[in-house]
Assembly symmetry: C2
Homo-oligomer: 358 residues x 2
């Protein structure tokens, strides 16, 4: 490490205590002294050993956030919000992605990289309750997302059933009666492990309709490609939905691409609702109606809960696990409401030459 | 911190040296002994103090990656690739976003969080060469992206001028003559600080055409909204481009949304080319022609260069800075090539009832 506090103090002509005060951002140091010490720090390339200091307190000042896929803009947007929320508590966020793999999620939850983090915010997709109950070590952890667990951890998630029911209610109110669900995991297509599928079933049943399994399309994942493959498969096996409720926006956008290829109009032939309110949906050729979770509240609550858990580590008994539900709302756009018609400009006005140099 | 190696050794009934061998993944420990030690580690909740060990070597095993915007899928895709590349060298990546702000980029480059990182990969947008030349401290750093700097740092970037020229060449080959550039920074619209705008100018000039400033649309940033605003402004001031080359895919997608609202067809009325090859462009209603940088090569080269620099820290003279150009290619899709026409199914086949419960 080389340069010490003492070296800086000698160079700046001040006491070690004064250097320490500057490095620790204590008040009561005059601007002139602060500048002299900072100059010596810069000259010598001194790196304050904050990490070692954190370690003496048993802390690193770093929390981890593990999400299934950084390529999914929902998680990228949530990650940005978590970084901002953590920065307000002077915490650094270490970002990891699990690729939605059960083994990777289990590895992360069991304290992988525990040596560098004080706590973990995990958004699992494939992890099972038994994986969590088997967790014997690792730092404090908070869970995010729509998977429900019988495990003693704080869990931050919007009310996915209510949100899905509101989306389906909207489609029913538009007079749609053959509403497909796109994006069920194969294993959960018939016994809904996920809540959005369950909300789809409940709302259709409540309306007196029949939630047909044939209108549930399983997917391998929750990406655009999965949505495209599932939509094509549904149409190819002769199903004729008049609406699609997709697990998330990416699945919805992939499905809309296939509908466009097949010459089917959105929303006239098939209305589409997604979930997540990613920015991409607002700018799609047909803008996407979606369930918008309150991402900033999710991020803030996750960081607050985790810091409380870190602060209470070792308390006996531990505070009971909490189930926290941030808000959500349905955002109605063109994929269900259509677009106010606007005439095409006459062809002549576009085929002529431009107005000339200028 | 509480639990020590000695506690684990006592519980497992082995020597401290044996526990150390297990924790450090040394070979020559029998599976049975390894299991016994691991059991004791789990029972006691022992956290091997790897970080402190790293620190004794003056390392943390963490590299930082600072990108302008996690919400931009290009950076999310590159970040995923960097995390993978770093993991192959047992390095953990700490992800930060600068929001493309010069002050935040300068802060990061000057060693913000230097206490937790061994090195930094920075993708700057607004940073100026003088900011880099003023850098007096901070860990080894490698630069990514299309901004050019006269500063002594390794820089990984595709040949942006050549890539932009290939995109414009493609539009010229299609017979387009009024090619707009969307996404210039206001300050660089007339004196191209960025290379893609420069490539646009060069290729049009090489074809004997006139690169009209009136067809350059400035934007505040490089997001979908910026593309939409710039496209609308260009049309509203009476310009009639027959093609658009956008700074990146997000700008192109925002522009395409406005073209759709105005009843203009892509590519018939206006052909569009983006830059980055983000997955979203492949699934747009009209799939997007784009320049595809080799993101995996970019990530691998950035990590390799940075680890070399970390290894050579303190070498005098330092190895000279390198300029490394990973590959790129033009991916032609519907936004320039059009779509093979496919007839709409007759309305009757979609308005009838479904095939019944099944």
């Amino acid at each position: 490490m080389g340069v010490s506090l003492k070296d800086v103090a000698l160079r700046a002509g001040v006491s070690v205590k004064t250097v320490s005060n500057v490095v620790n951002h204590y008040p009561h140091v005059t601007p002139a002294t602060r500048a002299r010490v900072q100059h010596a720090i810069d000259e010598l390339g001194y790196r304050p050993n904050l990490m070692a200091r954190h370690l003496r307190k048993g802390r690193t000042g770093i929390i981890a956030l593990a999400v299934p896929e950084l390529g999914n803009p929902y998680f990228a947007e949530v990650a940005g919000a978590v970084i901002d929320a953590a920065a307000r508590h002077e915490q650094t966020v270490l970002l990891d992605h699990t690729a939605g793999l059960r083994e990777k999620e289990a590895l992360v939850s069991q304290g992988f990289r525990a040596h560098v983090i004080d706590g973990l915010i995990l958004s699992p997709i494939q992890l099972e309750s038994e994986d969590l109950l088997a967790r014997t070590a690792g730092p404090p952890m908070v869970l995010l997302g729509e998977r429900e667990y019988d495990a003693p951890y704080d869990h931050i998630a919007i009310d996915n059933v209510a949100a899905a029911r509101a989306a389906v209610r909207h489609l029913l109110d538009l007079g749609r009666s053959r509403i497909a669900f796109l994006g069920a995991r194969e294993e959960s297509a018939r016994q809904p492990a996920h809540l959005r599928l369950s909300g789809w079933r409940q709302e259709i049943a409540a309306s007196g309709g029949l939630a047909r399994d044939a209108l549930v399309a399983a997917t391998d994942g929750f990406d655009r490609r999965d949505g495209a493959v599932a939509m094509a498969a549904l149409l190819d096996r002769g199903e004729r939905p008049d609406a699609v409720f997709a697990y998330n926006d990416l699945v919805a956008l992939g499905a809309m691409r296939v509908l466009s290829e097949r010459g089917l109009r959105v929303p006239e032939d098939i209305a589409v609702v997604g979930f997540d309110d990613v920015e991409e949906g607002r700018y799609a050729a047909v803008s996407l109606t979606t369930v918008a979770p309150d991402k900033h509240a999710i991020a803030r609550l996750a960081v607050d809960c985790l810091l409380e858990r870190i602060g209470a580590a070792g308390a006996d008994p531990a505070p009971p696990p909490r189930r926290i539900r941030p808000g959500h709302r349905l955002v109605i756009r063109e994929s269900t409401a259509g677009r106010p018609s606007r005439p095409r400009p006459p062809p002549g006005s576009w085929s002529g030459p431009g107005p000339g140099p200028g």
